[in-house]
Point group: C2
Chain length 349, copies 2
């Protein structure tokens, strides 16, 4: 890991961009899409941080699709959430079809404020858009010193256990705990592998490390192409993740008064009107023990398990993020060259 | 399904007992163990309802182990939770090592009260015991008309992803949504199969329906005996369930000021001082849509997935419970004959 000159490539088609320059260029591109200065700056930072932290599938690589949805009017650049009901420490907000990452950031921010007042706070958000990297809102809570718990629904993109066509979403779930040495952040979709992950394995000619779905004759397989062809990715824990995806969706729609998965268009470019839930806990002296100390003891114990492979390391959720972040800040954030060219010279709306 | 005479057997070693008689006998057995009348009645009902609802592994079949822990002093029959901190809608309670099912029932009850006042309420409970059937507290919330979300930690009983010795708990997680036609209740441990389930498959000479753990040479397997021998059951979703079990534990311990899994004795008969979290949502007009209607639409859509096997039914979480309950109320609740004899003539403490 050594600093490189801005713009230097380290593999074919990838360019390393200094973080600040990436934020600046994304801000400019968003301004041209009609974002007000403050919205452009925050939205750009969230996209850039996602790629900086190594969540490549949900960062800058998503920017083109996001821009297309802004241009098509499904994402409204300057819409902000409006509170539609206040019930003590639980509030219902309408996202007004604003940018998903801005809406989510503001909603978790409000949940944190509620938790500081009431020990726990919840924002149920209707009419929003794809939040991009869910883990961002876990980091947001943890860096504010509280526990974060949030989830989103999605369009139907996952066959339920026992079915072959998608009638549940992969509904990512995020849990985060503050910790001085770097928070514990779990960010998991309810599918074992995303379509993006399947594509990556296929491109590299690799089998999945574990079964990831069904092939066209209904057999569980580690072959990513077979799963893509059958469109049958696997829920985590088979029937368990299928059930969890279903319940999270129903809870969100009931609390937020938003759409359930069954009401969301099944098309990535028209996937809008999503429903999300943001819960923060631990303000107002609500911690019975210092989460820092418990997390430290729990991590030490976790990693005391006899490794399955010699020399292998057992990781806690979020452990890799800080290492990747440090590397990408030092070497520049890796961006696909084609995307970088697009951001540098954005198409006018 | 037809009513049978009380005490009639329907398979070797199983006796069908009328529900009311089961509650009565359990109450008597608990009274002899030193439970005050009110505590004995509620504890008996929770044990009997668990078996009535078909969760055989966590109902009457657990009674002997529970009684042994009462006799050894680890479960204190008449201890009740004491509030140790009040932070708005989040409260911290000390379970005083009382019976796990009574403590959990009272804690969810308190969370429901808080939700009615504040839209959302949370009770973080330290120093409690095994809650038996987690789903009971989901049903409790749903029957009170609110959403329930709760989890418990356990002793270390599950190897984390990448490890071969247990350093996480299987930490059951429960989510429930009220619904007039029967609530949606998900009750899942973070292990794909419990040791009890592995034993049942082995006894029947069956392979597991999906991989359930590793054998002694580290290969994933559907052979229950091989997993038992290696003591390597699988977390749901491989690394995902391992991470979820870890984070739930740390959150609970931080909020409740209770023990984390790393601090709990690794012995089923000395597994005490557990930590649990109970969240209720939806009181105080906090529903944006009628959960009943959303659940109905979501269930209909869920079950519209093309079945993987011809004629197969896609189930929503909790769907089977009402059918099993009805059957067991009509035919008598199935109880192992040896356990029934023990309950009828309980050993004095």
């Amino acid at each position: 890991m050594s600093p490189v000159a801005p713009g230097q490539s380290d593999s074919v088609g990838i360019v390393r961009v200094p973080f600040s320059e990436l934020v600046e260029r994304l801000t400019g591109a968003l301004r041209k899409l009609g974002f007000a200065p403050e919205n452009a700056a925050l939205c750009a930072r969230l996209f850039a941080e996602t790629t900086r932290d190594g969540v490549y599938s949900h960062g800058v690589r998503r920017f083109s699709r996001f821009a297309a949805m802004v241009r098509s009017g499904l994402v409204r650049p300057n819409a902000v959430p409006v509170r539609s009901a206040q019930c003590g420490a639980l509030e219902r907000w309408d996202g007004q079809f604003g940018p998903g990452n801005l809406n989510a950031w503001r909603s978790m921010g409000r949940a944190i404020t509620l938790a500081r007042e009431s020990g726990i706070g919840c924002v149920a958000l209707a009419n929003t858009n794809h939040w991009m990297r869910g883990g961002a809102y876990g980091w947001q809570a943890a860096e504010a010193g509280v526990i974060g718990l949030c989830w989103t629904n999605t369009m139907p993109n996952l066959p339920p256990w026992g079915g072959t066509t998608p009638t549940v979403g992969n509904n990512p779930l995020v849990l985060a705990v503050p910790r001085a040495g770097g928070p514990v952040v779990l960010d998991i979709a309810m599918s074992q592998f995303s379509y993006g992950a399947l594509e990556s394995y296929r491109d590299r000619g690799e089998l999945l490390p574990v079964v990831g779905g069904f092939d066209s004759v209904g057999e569980l397989t580690r072959d990513p192409a077979a799963i893509e062809a059958a469109q049958r990715p696997l829920p985590i824990g088979f029937w368990k993740g299928s059930g969890l995806a279903f319940v999270l969706d129903v809870i969100g729609a009931a609390l937020a008064g938003g759409q359930a998965t069954c009401e969301i268009a099944q098309d990535p470019l028209r996937e809008t009107g999503l429903t999300q839930v943001f819960i923060a806990m631990g303000g107002a002296g609500a911690f019975g023990r210092n989460p820092d100390e418990i997390a430290a003891a729990a991590i030490q114990f976790l990693q005391s398990s006899q490794p399955a492979a010699e020399g292998a390391r057992i990781r806690y959720p979020g452990e890799q993020t800080l290492r990747i972040r440090e590397e990408n800040l030092a070497r520049g954030v890796p961006v696909d060259r084609a995307i970088w060219e697009e951001i540098r010279t954005p198409i006018s709306p």
